[in-house]
């Protein structure tokens, strides 16, 4: 069956990285990366720029060798194997179509390298072009194609040789917003039909969630968490993942009390107290960093005497209205378009379901990471 992780039944993972490290120009780009991808799976590799995604791709593709660690495909260690012997299909961000070759010759390139007989090449290329809706484009040169068409030729060229693994490097980055949604769907369909094991590299979480069964979040050369989109949103493993996924509010507070059974902490955020979810046991007084996404915050009119928060401004964002609220801490709150309106300057109270606000101890190191990473997210 496609898309279901089969490692559970004991079969070895199709792609396996173990303890992969890489230092480039004195900077640790990959730091003991472990990764497993089951046969037929589509894994998203998500991370901000500079997180090590491209280096990982280059190591799997064979263009860089790791300083230490192993890379296995179907049990075979491929470290030291030259790129052309790896049988890994790659689509590049700029598509990298050969400008001097026609669409047909671009797609036929890999089959020719393998010495496939001419009639075979013709039938397989024709079949692959048909699958991607490119029939009739055979004699065109890449420069006469639109961005979306070039992307499909690049996919066809990589898939036609039936590689053991597909690496897709930011395949949607060079397309405009309208086309991106359609091509995203096309890529998912083609990868499903060809049942090829794939890694989809992106910095865009919406793309990763829309395309992939599982997503690995990478930051500063380390895998932060691997899981389904729901896992990453509902159960972030650390402050980075919580801060990176879904552009949440980041608040700082102090632990008032902690309940070990429910893993809940009550926090004091500059005088505003609320319950939050906290996996680590924290003593009262421990500083916490709290992440809560704008759509998880509920807003209600202040009871008599005035609430602690005040509406500063709001904007329509298409899918809803975003309110900017100030008070003990500045917060963004997402409301449905038809929700009750609030005036600017109106006093309000805020609340959220405790399990949807994720708190992590703000020790010096993790605070520094969180600040750095949210700065990157905002950029």
């Amino acid at each position: 069956m496609y898309g279901v992780t089969e490692t559970a039944d004991g079969s070895p993972p199709h792609l396996e990285l173990r303890g992969v490290c890489k230092t480039l120009g004195g900077r640790t780009v990959l730091d003991h990366v472990d990764l497993e991808v089951a046969k037929g799976d589509l894994l998203g590799l998500l991370g901000p720029s500079g997180s090590g995604k491209t280096t990982m791709l280059n190591i799997i593709g064979g263009f860089l060798s790791p300083d230490s660690g192993t890379v296995r495909i179907a049990g075979q260690d491929i470290v030291g194997l030259q790129p052309h012997r790896r049988d890994i299909g790659i689509t590049f961000q700029g598509y990298a179509l050969f400008p001097h070759l026609s669409v047909f010759d671009n797609v036929a390139f890999g089959l020719k390298q393998r010495g496939a007989p001419k009639p075979d090449i013709k039938s397989r290329v024709t079949e692959m072009l048909a699958l991607l809706g490119l029939s009739g484009y055979e004699t065109r040169l890449p420069r006469a194609l639109s961005g979306g068409e070039q992307q499909r030729v690049a996919l066809a060229r990589a898939l036609v040789v039936r590689p053991r693994l597909m690496l897709l490097d930011e395949p949607l980055a060079n397309l405009d917003a309208a086309l991106r949604h359609r091509v995203r769907f096309e890529i998912r369909e083609v990868l499903r039909r060809t049942q090829v094991t794939s890694i989809f590299v992106t910095h865009d979480q919406d793309e990763a969630f829309a395309l992939c069964d599982r997503v690995a979040v990478l930051n500063q050369g380390r895998i932060q968490q691997i899981g389904t989109p729901a896992d990453l949103i509902l159960e972030p493993a650390n402050a980075f993942v919580a801060g990176f996924i879904g552009s949440p509010n980041m608040l700082t507070g102090r632990t008032m009390s902690y309940d070990e059974d429910s893993q809940r902490a009550t926090v004091d955020i500059n005088g505003f107290t609320h319950a939050v979810n906290c996996k680590t046991r924290v003593a009262p007084g421990t500083p916490l960093t709290i992440f809560v996404r704008p759509e998880e915050v509920t807003i209600s009119p202040a009871t008599s005497g005035g609430g602690p928060f005040q509406v500063k401004d709001w904007v329509y964002l298409g899918s809803g209205r975003e309110m900017w609220v100030d008070g003990p801490a500045p917060l963004r709150v997402r409301l449905p378009n038809d929700a009750q309106g609030y005036e600017r300057g109106e006093r309000v109270t805020l609340s959220w379901r405790p399990e949807r606000a994720h708190a992590f101890p703000a020790d010096a190191e993790s605070r520094a990471t969180a600040d750095h990473d949210t700065a990157q997210v905002r950029r």
Partner: protein, 311 residues
């Protein structure tokens, strides 16, 4: 109803006609400014270069201030009939062709190095390749004479190696080729490097990921994409070496002269301007034709290498 339509059309025509002259005037003004800025350079070329060439051209047809007869093709007929000139032309073509091949073989790796992303000595290598252009031709040639001439270390080694009574490389065709390669190499390197500058590194990775061996990547992707730069370099080096004078004159010596030297000696030494001028005009026509071919190749290359990535 038809009347209303007609008057509507007329109105449209009137506005478009009214708009045209002002756009036309603006374009005229722009042209005048551009032409005004170009005029000094054009004037210099028109008088010094075209004027000089016109006199040579007229003289080659027996015309001009001190012409003795009417227009004639006798000079051209003589050029094509003379066995001596044929030998000179053949020698020029042979020397130029060997120079082109030498520049290509030596220049391609250099161009490849200076355009590779991790070239640590790039600026040093670029300076070294360009340095022959910064020395005066005469100074350079006297250096070569000291190096290649009889009694020099190179001559002694050559003699020792071949066991012949060779007098060194001076006054040999090989010497001329070495000298020409030295000064023309930068043109080959820069031409190839320019075409490599917009070579997308990911094309080579893509080819390898599709199973192409390093040599298949080179012959099927890298070289075809460099071909415009290579052709441009070949044409430039060829046209510069068929017109070269100083190197060939000073290193080639008597009995081994090339077309440019033949022109010089016909006009200035033997006082036979007729043959010399006809030869000069033929050489000009050839090198202009080659240069135009080089420009055309360059244009085609630009058109091919610019990929359209937007939607």
């Amino acid at each position: 109803m038809s009347g209303a339509a007609a008057s509507g059309n007329e109105a449209a025509r009137a506005t478009s006609a009214g708009a045209r002259p002002s756009g036309h005037r603006a374009r005229m003004t722009r042209w005048l400014i551009v032409f005004g800025l170009l005029a000094p350079a054009l004037l210099l070329y028109a008088t010094v270069y075209l004027g000089g060439m016109a006199i040579i051209g007229l003289a080659s047809f027996g015309l001009g201030p001190d012409a003795e007869s009417g227009a004639t093709l006798v000079n051209y007929r003589e050029v094509f009939a003379s066995a001596h000139i044929q030998a000179v032309v053949l020698r020029t073509l042979r020397v130029s062709a060997i120079t082109v091949i030498a520049c290509l073989v030596l220049g391609f790796p250099v161009a490849r190095y200076i355009t590779s992303p991790d070239a640590r000595w790039r600026s040093f290598v670029v300076m070294a390749v360009l340095s022959p252009l910064m020395v005066s031709a005469i100074g350079r040639v006297f250096g070569w004479i000291a190096l290649f001439g009889p009694g020099s270390w190179v001559a002694a080694q050559t003699m020792h190696f071949f066991g012949t009574r060779a007098t060194g490389l001076l006054y040999t065709e090989a010497g001329v080729v070495i000298g020409l390669t030295n000064i023309l190499l930068p043109f080959m390197v820069l031409s190839i490097a320019a075409s490599r500058a917009n070579l997308d590194e990911s094309l080579l990775k893509a080819a390898a990921s599709l199973g192409a061996t390093p040599s298949a990547v080179f012959w099927q992707v890298e070289l075809p994409l460099n071909l415009p730069g290579i052709l441009g370099g070949v044409l430039i080096v060829f046209s510069l070496s068929i017109t070269n004078f100083a190197t060939a004159a000073l290193l080639g010596g008597s009995g081994r002269d090339v077309v440019a030297y033949e022109i010089y000696s016909n006009i200035l030494t033997y006082h036979q301007p007729g043959t010399g001028t006809a030869l000069a005009i033929l050489l000009l026509v050839c090198s202009v034709a080659i240069m135009m071919l080089a420009i055309w190749v360059g244009r085609r290359a630009d058109a091919m290498q610019a990929p359209r990535v937007e939607t």
